[in-house]
Assembly symmetry: C2
Homo-oligomer: 382 residues x 2
């Protein structure tokens, strides 16, 4: 059996104005009928069962997460008092698993809640292969990361430089030479050509003991917090301890804090059709386009418009004239118009609104619309 | 005294989605507190008095026009059963003036209802000079057009090629060599340099007899319709006759049907700060811009945005990221995003909606918003 920990605490700021503090990206449906967190749970159920799925989310999202995935046991939904990136999030899950009696050999997969996967079967086969690997005597102390075979010279992802192909009972994997930050276009093209670079999916698999040792070695502060939280689970002091520890521990990613420092990292390659749904331009990859390259999810009239993404959850008519490479997102109380080259900078809008204390456009859409981006919305062609 | 005929029947399609069939451009306030037709009437009152102002509009706009300009006598508001361009519109006014007993020497100014004028005093001085001219024995049979001194190489206006400067009692005017269609950029720059080309404002002044003769000579069908309508004024047959005649007569502009064919055309030059408010890009000229060249009339957050026009009458927040040279117009039931180079093509959106019988976005904004574009709207800087 595999135990899955879903990280579902993100703010989804780059998906503003549809993504809001009270209903961020992972709780939205993008390109399907179900939300990303629901899809993630569904994808894992055949592999882990409901009892093998744990979710870490933010306090203010707890109730919505519970509502969206009722099959996950209530005490498997953990909340963080504040977001401190992925390392503390994973440590919190480890603390709870240990408190619940998990032993050293429990195999744990860590998965983001807000990614898109096309081939669920292949996804499960990949996790299975990786979990098999950390049960092998030679690899039981390894941290395993899932690397996705690139299909385009993507500059929005980090890469894994793989070396030293190995094979074990038909299972192929690599040693990780190093993790590479988001490259420029020229480098991304070279990575794609070389075949030696995979996309860093942010999905990990390891034995419980292995990740605990890694925390102790590379992030001792986090490891100490982890053990204090573990001791407090089930006591009346739990929330106070949790808040205290989270206040103290640094905000740090598992990639930077552990993976890049650890020696024994293995990469299992995957080809299950993956997208990190990192920004509005992802809709251009995930949803079908018309002949002019436009992805339209609204009432629409287009004149001389190509390669644009138009999304509305208001039922309003969107008309575009003479446009190229733009993203238009129309919600009840806010409208975003953004160049595709600038989609990462949407978070600057969110930051500006926060700085100006104009919170009403951050918390929730006052129009009361349902925030679902569905492929079946009434789109009209250009 | 001068008699003014205001042409107020236009559809304002290039100002969709704010301009709608039931409240087109001339009935909207753009850059001021009053609508364009109200501003036009106010501008003429000191010169013509309320009793000297006539308005020709469309049947379905009659009530709104009356409401907006209550000082204009009710029987001075004429309606056309259908729009047939400016020549029939002027003929209708002539028919009514004659039916009301006007004599050959009545001096009549024809003015569009939907233009912006900065200097009302200078505007009135110009009309006064022009009306003085057509009372002079040597010029009483001339058609006078107002030519605006160009201030930029505008490619959106027609031009008047002027020759043969004359002077009469300190009043300077020209003979019109020819009317020129909208030029390309290179030509517009040459026109601006030469000083021999003025913008064709579409404002005319003539004696009643002169324009009647011009209709008889150049547009005999319209002249005949004009005389039949004149005979029907005040009879029970009026509306039937009006509909019949309008059904028959050709749709033709006074520029094309008369001005370009007539010999005795005089141009009085003007410098009263004029704009035909022809498309959304006019807002960029009429309203103040921020340092990045953005004209903002909405709740707004801008990141890396320049030379854009953002207008909302919904109170919604508009956020822009990485944009140049765009027009964004946000109304209750429809949103327009358009490149500044394509503002003329907004009418293609309107045509498409009409062809598709999607009338609800053409008639009126179902949100029930007040359609006022005011310079005092709560704009926030970029």
């Amino acid at each position: 059996m595999l135990t899955a920990v879903i990280m579902a605490g993100g703010g989804g700021e780059r998906f503003w104005p549809v993504s809001r503090r009270e209903r961020p990206k992972q709780l939205l449906s993008i390109g399907g009928k179900k939300s990303l967190v629901q899809q993630t749970v569904d994808r894992l159920l055949p592999l882990c069962g409901a009892g093998g799925i744990y979710i870490v989310t933010a306090s203010h999202l707890h109730d919505e997460v519970r509502k969206q995935v009722p099959r996950v046991p209530q005490n498997h939904i953990m909340t963080e008092p504040e977001g401190k990136n992925t390392a503390p999030c994973i440590a919190l899950a480890v603390a709870h698993l240990r408190a619940a009696g998990a032993d050293d050999d429990l195999v744990m997969a860590v998965l983001p809640a807000d990614h898109a996967v096309l081939d669920d079967e292949e996804f499960r086969r990949t996790l299975e292969r990786a979990s098999r690997l950390v049960r092998e005597p030679d690899y039981r102390d390894c941290l395993v990361t899932i690397g996705v075979r690139p299909t385009r010279p993507e500059t929005g992802y980090g890469y894994i430089h793989i070396v030293d192909l190995r094979e074990l009972d038909g299972l192929r994997f690599y040693r990780v030479h190093r993790f590479v930050e988001k490259p420029d276009r020229r480098r991304a093209e070279a990575y794609l050509r070389s075949g030696d670079y995979l996309w860093n999916s942010g999905m990990f698999i390891w034995r419980l003991k292995t990740i605990e040792r890694a925390f102790e070695k590379h992030l001792p502060e986090v490891a100490e917090a982890m053990s204090r939280i573990r001791e407090a689970v089930g006591t009346p002091h739990y929330w106070r301890v949790l808040r205290q520890e989270y206040f103290r521990i640094p905000s740090i990613s598992v990639d930077y804090g552990i993976m890049e420092k650890e020696e024994r990292i293995i990469c299992v390659p995957a080809s299950f059709g993956w997208d990190d749904v990192g920004s509005w331009s992802a809709l251009g990859r995930l949803l079908p386009a018309d002949r002019a390259g436009n992805v339209i999810q609204s009432e629409y009239v287009g004149v001389d418009t190509s390669n644009c993404i138009v999304y509305s959850d208001t039922g309003r008519l969107v008309a575009t004239v003479g446009l190229r490479d733009l993203v238009i997102v129309d919600t009840g109380d806010a409208l975003l118009v953004c160049h595709k080259d600038s989609v990462q900078r949407v978070r600057e809008v969110v930051a500006r609104l926060r700085d100006d204390e104009r919170y009403r456009h951050l918390l929730h859409d006052r129009s009361g619309q349902v925030y679902e981006v569905t492929a079946t919305a009434g789109a009209r062609g250009a």
